[in-house]
Symmetry: C2
Subunit: 598 residues, 2 copies
């Protein structure tokens, strides 16, 4: 197998040279860790990715899960891989040692998951959904819930899901109608239907633990009346054994365009018998709890998008280096042998576009992971608060930008392969199909846009926005002496974003619906500015490394970073200009369109 | 079934109000036609689309062609639909009456095919590949070839293919290695392998007629040594009956991401026995002949991309009008019922983006069809020459822009449907998978870019380019009094394109490889300028129609045209600016990238 997953050199660059992962070891929580333990974890992750995940990633797509006699049948490789992930400790990777975790920084945990996602996102999902579900129990569950459910979930004996969406509610969680009626013994009877439940049913494990949103009878309408429940597929006895059915019935699985290996189920709760739910935390706080998890989930979406696009880039790069076709302009002799297609200018453009996208996106999602660590473990209150603010701003960007730019990137990988890129016999088309989901799930792009402009920019009187601007300006100042072109461009881009933001914030006071109508374009501009900032940081590190006189191979690596940074500024960041114009004009051609004009 | 194919009102608008199809009836070739016959043809096409093509379009994807015992098995609905198309006369639709055709203008023929493509592009392909293959025989074949092959092809008893690509040659036709050795009786023995042959094998008909490129033994190397042959799957006797195998062996079918209903075959010619080819026209002129057909094929690609995006638009529009979800910003009462999602600003934006794309694209491909008619039948030499020049410029744009913008458009349809858009139970994801092929086949985007900038702009000392610019400027002048914003924008856009073009043409003299390196961006800018021009024409017609005081429904239709035109100018045309900057700088970050930097 060609080495087409994440580039380990790039990962090490980002972790150790850009994000200073080793510095985390100075904090009490990570005191038992060192670069050696981090590398060992990453090597383990890579090994699982290459040995357990990647070999069946195509089979789990072509031979996708199906329902037979009411049960979901999945190829056996999936179970083995999920077990390998669990046994190596990755479901509990970032959790406290005292609940069985490795107490890893999120930065290292996230990098490990990037290995898994790049190899086989569909299989990885079963483990990572479990980690997300367990996280809610860790943070908000009672001791009893923690004791009963966490160990089997961390061990991969039980898998978990997030059961939020309903057929008639979609993105509108305030319309959740699943009902919870007190049973009198502290538990609840759950009735209702959930849809799009990833990992919602299967026979991979003896039990499935659903973290489910429902409305307790008599609760307030809207988002303030939603509670969170643990709802196991099979009731769990005090001995920890899974027993009788809890009446979670499989209504069917949905057949997706891609990401086929992860079942997406319609589930009916309590239709054919009593279904017991166990309240997590307090009543009516479910949405707040879920949003805690959702932020992690959103960064995870960005990471999976990044990983898929990364793999597509590496695959198309390998192809471009080995496939010989055509001759360069000016070569008129048809007897000359064809050149490797990487020699063609347009192929190089498509490769550089991909490199700038995927290496920028990887930085973005790892930056977010680092901020989660800082939010939890930075030495001072002020640093933790600041990290939290930056994270609020970056989360909608980390969720969407890799999914959108990543799709464009994978599309360019496909174009490099030509017909082969379009054939299921090759690897790229599956990545193209799979990654498209990332623009939809865990909050569509539209939802993220409104989150960024309508909530994050406005929160705490603009404190999150200001924190981001100051941080980006500091990088520009740092780079000014040695990378003046990029530093000047970044400063200008931040200034443009500022002018636009001020205009929109004012407009939102007067007419919020109109001011928010172009939030999508705002997200675009903010995303490109942020990724440009990250690229400038990478470029600075690379430039300084070159100055130390590294080996030729290392110099080439760093020169590639400078090349990609320059590409991002000259080819991508410049796309902000027309969108800023639209935004400042609060252009309303779509907003004012009448239903009958379509 | 909801009415989600082409909007017939829009088609009539383009054909009769914008492109003045009726005027064609004044030309001798079309003297037997009238608006009534055109409408009858279009109604027939629509009927076939709705009754024979659309009902099985999903089945022919999920239950795709497969090889069993060496034969290709295809669901039976395909054969019935292809027969319906043939029996209604569409394979020979634009051909001369004396060879059995309807002598339709290409404009009406193209509009008919748009109906088919919007309903089921995969099944339609079998018929349309046959029309293309027959076209080569009509234009370049001997009387004997015409007599033997055309009638069964027009009747749909034989289907046809284009057998160009080889496994090691891809886009590089000059490297074709399939061999033709004179058999001594005027025929040739063909040996070689072709790949990606659409409709390359099946049991839909008693015979398949391959139009194949091969190199006659001893011919010059490169493009000047390629000849065109008719190679039937089974030898055809003088009585017209298909007899013994001609040793065209199926090597396998390729499994594509989308467009699955059309087989894509690997074919081995003459591997297990003699394979006879019949020379079409003169030896060594094959590539020139094929390029004649290729221009039609490229416009067809644009049309199929348009039709798919059109269907996705109409499907998502229907969904947006009926799906209720969420509330408008500012509505705080969770007891208020949810609104139809078309009320949400971001949904309206995504609908308007689609409308501007698909209705602009439909104009573009029909404009090309009209130019084919003008090239062949306009009253004066000067008009025919001018039409030919415009067509040269527009063909690479018509091939690529609908495939790229159309994919973005379909992606927005998917986003409107959310998870449902991503589910195979709904219609959009199949269109997303299918249309992506249009950026690859019949010359990739990269090839089209080089064609536009490297050949078309330069041809006849810039005469084609000048013809386009003059034509667009005339529209701007026409629109100036009543649509000043759009007219001014168009004139500015043409000016910008001119400056960029001049810069690039000069640079090409000095350093062609570098000047051509960003041809992709040039194609983008030229495409947006052209589509803006077309939208201004539509807007002018709409504005004038509104002035006549039409019915309310008609006024709404025309207002939609003005809305979409304004959207295209304010949201899409503005994206040219950063690309012009790159182009004029002859930006070379990708061009200068070193292999080791990736």
């Amino acid at each position: 197998m060609a080495d087409t997953l994440i580039n380990p050199r790039d990962l090490a660059f980002l972790l150790y040279e850009v994000l200073d992962a080793e510095a985390l070891c100075g904090r009490p929580r990570f005191a038992d860790h060192s670069r050696e333990t981090f590398d060992a974890v990453l090597d383990t992750a890579r090994g699982i990715a290459e040995e357990h995940l990647h070999p069946h990633w195509k089979k789990n797509d072509s031979d996708e899960p199906r329902v037979e006699h009411g049960k979901v049948v999945i190829i056996p490789e999936v179970k083995a891989a999920v077990q390998a992930i669990a046994e190596a400790g990755f479901i509990a990777g970032t959790k406290d040692a005292d609940v069985g975790g490795m107490q890893l920084p999120h930065l290292i945990g996230g990098a490990s998951l990037a290995w898994f996602d790049s190899a086989n996102v569909a299989t990885t999902s079963y483990a990572m959904l479990t980690a997300g579900a367990a996280d809610l129990i860790v943070k908000f569950g009672s001791d009893a819930l923690r004791a009963k459910y966490l160990p089997p979930m961390f061990e991969g004996r039980f898998l978990g899901t997030m059961a939020l969406t309903e057929p008639d509610a979609g993105s509108s969680l305030s319309d959740v109608r699943t009902k919870a009626v007190p049973a009198g013994d502290g538990t609840y009877h759950i009735t209702g239907t959930k849809i799009w439940i990833s990992g919602g049913d299967h026979e991979l494990t003896e039990n499935i633990i659903h973290l489910l949103l429902a409305r307790i009878e008599g609760a307030p309408q809207g988002v303030k009346g939603i509670s969170l429940f643990v709802v196991p597929k099979r009731l769990v006895g005090d001995d920890g054994a899974s027993g009788a059915s809890n009446h979670v019935a499989l209504g069917g699985i949905i057949h997706k365009m891609g990401w086929r290996g992860t079942t997406s189920a319609l589930l009916n709760f309590g239709e054919h018998g009593p279904c017991t739910g166990y309240l997590v935390g307090e009543a009516n706080k479910g949405l707040a709890y879920m949003f805690h998890m959702m932020n992690d989930a959103r960064i995870s979406v960005g990471r999976s998008a990044t990983a898929m696009a990364y793999t597509a880039y590496r695959y198309s790069l390998e192809y471009a280096r080995t496939r010989k076709q055509g001759r360069l302009p000016g070569e008129k002799d048809p007897l000359k042998p064809p050149v490797a297609i990487i020699e063609h200018a347009d192929i190089r453009r498509m490769l550089l576009l991909q490199k700038a996208t995927v290496e920028g996106a990887l930085h973005l999602v790892l930056e977010c992971a680092r901020l989660v660590d800082d939010q939890e473990t930075a030495p001072t209150d002020a640093e933790r608060t600041r990290a939290g603010l930056l994270l609020e701003m970056l989360t909608p960007i980390a969720k969407t930008w890799p999914s959108i730019a990543g799709q464009e990137s994978i599309s360019n990988a496909m174009q490099i392969l030509g017909g082969y890129g379009y054939a299921r016999e090759y690897d790229v088309e599956q990545l193209y199909r799979a990654n498209r989901l990332n623009q939809i799930h865990e909050g569509t792009n539209g939802i993220q846009s409104l989150d960024l402009l309508g909530r994050k920019v406005m929160m705490e009187k603009g404190a999150a926005y200001q924190a981001l601007v100051e941080t980006m300006l500091a990088t520009a100042a740092d780079a000014e002496p040695t990378l003046p072109e990029l530093a000047t461009s970044l400063r200008a881009a931040i200034g443009e974003l500022g002018t636009t933001t001020t205009t929109l914030v004012r407009a939102m006071m007067a007419e919020p619906a109109r001011a928010l109508a172009n939030a999508n374009a705002y997200l675009d501009c903010a995303s490109r500015t942020v990724v440009a900032w990250l690229w400038l940081r990478q470029a600075l590190v690379a430039q300084r490394a070159i100055a130390t006189g590294p080996s030729e191979a290392e110099r080439h690596f760093y020169e590639g970073k400078l090349r990609a940074a320059q590409y991002f500024y000259r080819w991508e960041l410049v796309k902000n200009a027309p969108e800023h114009t639209l935004l400042r004009a609060i252009e309303d051609t779509p907003f004012s369109a009448k239903d009958w004009e379509f």
